[in-house]
């Protein structure tokens, strides 16, 4: 679809920034279009828990004036972005914090503000203590869930209620809603994006990252939010690439590894349509010049449970001082995590860390031979709301599946749409690279997306 034919709220960040830079589109006009869209359909999607319309328009007017005066700050200037509740925003601390204070703006939010982005508001996430909040609905079919825990981010980006979102991923929480809602989502390398101002679930597994409608937009957002932050002790000082300019190099000759044994391990719990479409996506990468090789990573079969053990034990430690309150007023998922963390012994936690080390060593060897891994992102299309229980996600965390291993190993991992189920729900491919090689997964995902054009479909809402 040509840019001129699109509603403004469905422009990609890349398209919008070019129009804004050329002064063919005002941030005020764009922000108003997104706010109007939210007014029109968020009563069906329930993405926002705090739509900050007044401050967003004020920021948009400031951006417009600055650009009009010849001071265009860069690609994010005047772009409407919304934020998962888990990240603090000045004046709107994370509601998921039940007993700790926010920090003002999380570093990733501050970097977006410094780049001139318009902060639209806070988005719903799984397990909020406000039980009366309605669950976000999937724009592709509002009888279905968005996936979580970045629930509102999935609904908002897919529905045109913002152009991109900051999400967070501890065991798939960026990639799962990206897959279910037909978005591009990136969990960068652990340490690539600051966690400062993120309400913790698990310190060593939490990753902040971007969600958008196209891979190119992830590159724009990552260019803005990546980098060392002295406020986050695990932030990396590794140099930040220019992710957008690296996209357009072709993928001829790159080697894509397929962890076939691990996919087989997960296959009994995976919908055949996912395996079929991911297989076709791998073939498409081959047709674009990649070489495909099967690889073995034996310890992956234990990586999901190791991820869960570390997750729940660190969750318990992070919430110990407020555990009574969580047990009294917290959502079922949070209460269950407290119980599971309490049942995890020190030997279990240490064994999980040893498995993490072994898994990383095996993957390091594999990445000596291949540039990235390709595997499914989800077990099936988004389920119906009525078929999902309050703690179903936890079952996914304790049997081999596709997300946890890459939180455990901290590797950069991209979700990119690779087709649709027979009932028109999105399915996604997952691409994984070695530490700090976000460029490779973004380039492969971008090339694939430009070839297949799944991103040009729009949800029927």
């Amino acid at each position: 679809m040509a840019v001129a034919e699109k509603p403004l709220y469905y422009l990609s960040i890349h398209e919008a920034q070019q129009l804004i830079k050329d002064r063919q589109l005002s941030p005020v006009e764009l922000t108003q279009a997104v706010l109007d869209r939210a007014s029109a359909i968020d009563n069906k999607l329930h993405a926002y828990i705090n739509l900050m319309a007044d401050s967003a328009m004020s920021e948009a007017r400031a951006a417009a004036a600055e650009i009009q005066a010849g001071h265009w700050r860069g690609a994010m200037h005047g772009i409407p972005i919304a934020v998962k509740d888990q990240l603090d925003v000045e004046g709107a601390p994370a509601r998921i914090r039940q007993f700790t204070k926010g920090v003002g703006d999380a570093t990733a939010v501050r970097k977006l503000r410094d780049a001139g982005a318009v902060i639209m508001g806070k988005l719903h996430m799984s397990s909020l203590p406000d039980a009366e909040l309605p669950l976000p609905r999937n724009p592709w079919n509002t009888d279905h869930i968005t996936g979580g825990s970045s629930t509102g981010s999935g609904a908002a980006v897919a529905g045109g209620l913002c152009l991109g979102s900051l999400g967070e991923d501890t065991a798939g929480s960026i990639r799962n809603p990206s897959a279910f809602c037909g978005l591009a989502g990136l969990k960068g390398t652990y340490g690539r994006v600051s966690r400062y101002g993120l309400a913790p679930l698990s310190w060593s597994l939490d990753h902040c990252g971007p969600m958008a409608r196209v891979v190119e937009d992830l590159a724009h957002m990552l260019n803005t939010i990546a980098g060392y932050d002295p406020k986050d002790p695990t932030s990396s000082s590794t140099l930040v690439d220019d992710y957008t300019s690296a996209l357009r190099e072709d993928i001829k000759g790159i080697v894509v590894g397929v962890p076939r044994d691990y996919i087989d391990e997960c296959a009994p719990r995976t919908d055949p349509v996912v395996l079929k479409l991911v297989g076709e996506a791998v073939e498409a990468l081959k047709s674009l010049g990649a070489r495909i090789e099967d690889v073995k990573v034996p310890t992956l079969r234990l990586a999901t449970i190791a991820n869960a053990v570390i997750y729940y034990n660190e969750f318990w430690a992070a919430h110990k001082n407020g555990a009574a309150e969580v047990l009294n007023t917290g959502a079922p998922q949070r209460r269950a995590r407290i119980y599971l963390g309490l049942l995890t012994g020190s030997a279990d936690y240490i064994q999980a860390q040893r498995i993490r080390s072994r898994c990383r060593a095996e993957l390091a060897e594999v990445f000596g031979k291949v540039n990235c891994l390709a595997l499914p992102n989800q077990a099936g299309p988004a389920p119906r709301v009525k078929d999902v229980g309050p703690i179903d996600t936890l079952f996914k965390h304790v049997v081999p599946e596709y997300h946890g291993p890459f939180n455990l190993t901290g590797l950069p991992t991209l979700s990119v749409p690779c087709g649709f189920s027979p009932n028109n729900l999105p399915i996604a491919l997952q691409l994984v690279a070695k530490p700090f090689d976000e460029v490779t997964v973004l380039r492969a995902g971008y090339t694939y997306q430009q070839h297949m054009k799944w991103h040009e479909r729009r949800p029927p809402i």
Partner: protein, 63 residues
């Protein structure tokens, strides 16, 4: 819920000065039993002399 698991959980809750929310142990019994069962798998792998390495991010400089 498995009696041993329930007793263990109640003991650690008591140690921490906590009480389960009424109905939680029944509601969560399936996930708790599955989790405890799968914990055993963690110890099924032979890691030989592998030690706990500070490998979370090899490039980490400790800044």
């Amino acid at each position: 819920m498995n009696k041993l698991i329930a007793e263990h959980l109640m003991a650690v809750l008591k140690r921490e000065g906590l009480q389960p929310r009424p109905g939680d142990l029944e509601q969560f019994s399936e996930i708790i039993e599955l989790y405890v069962e799968n914990l055993k798998q963690l110890h099924s792998v032979n890691l030989g002399a592998d030690e706990l390495a500070p490998v979370f991010r090899p490039e980490w400089t400790g800044k």
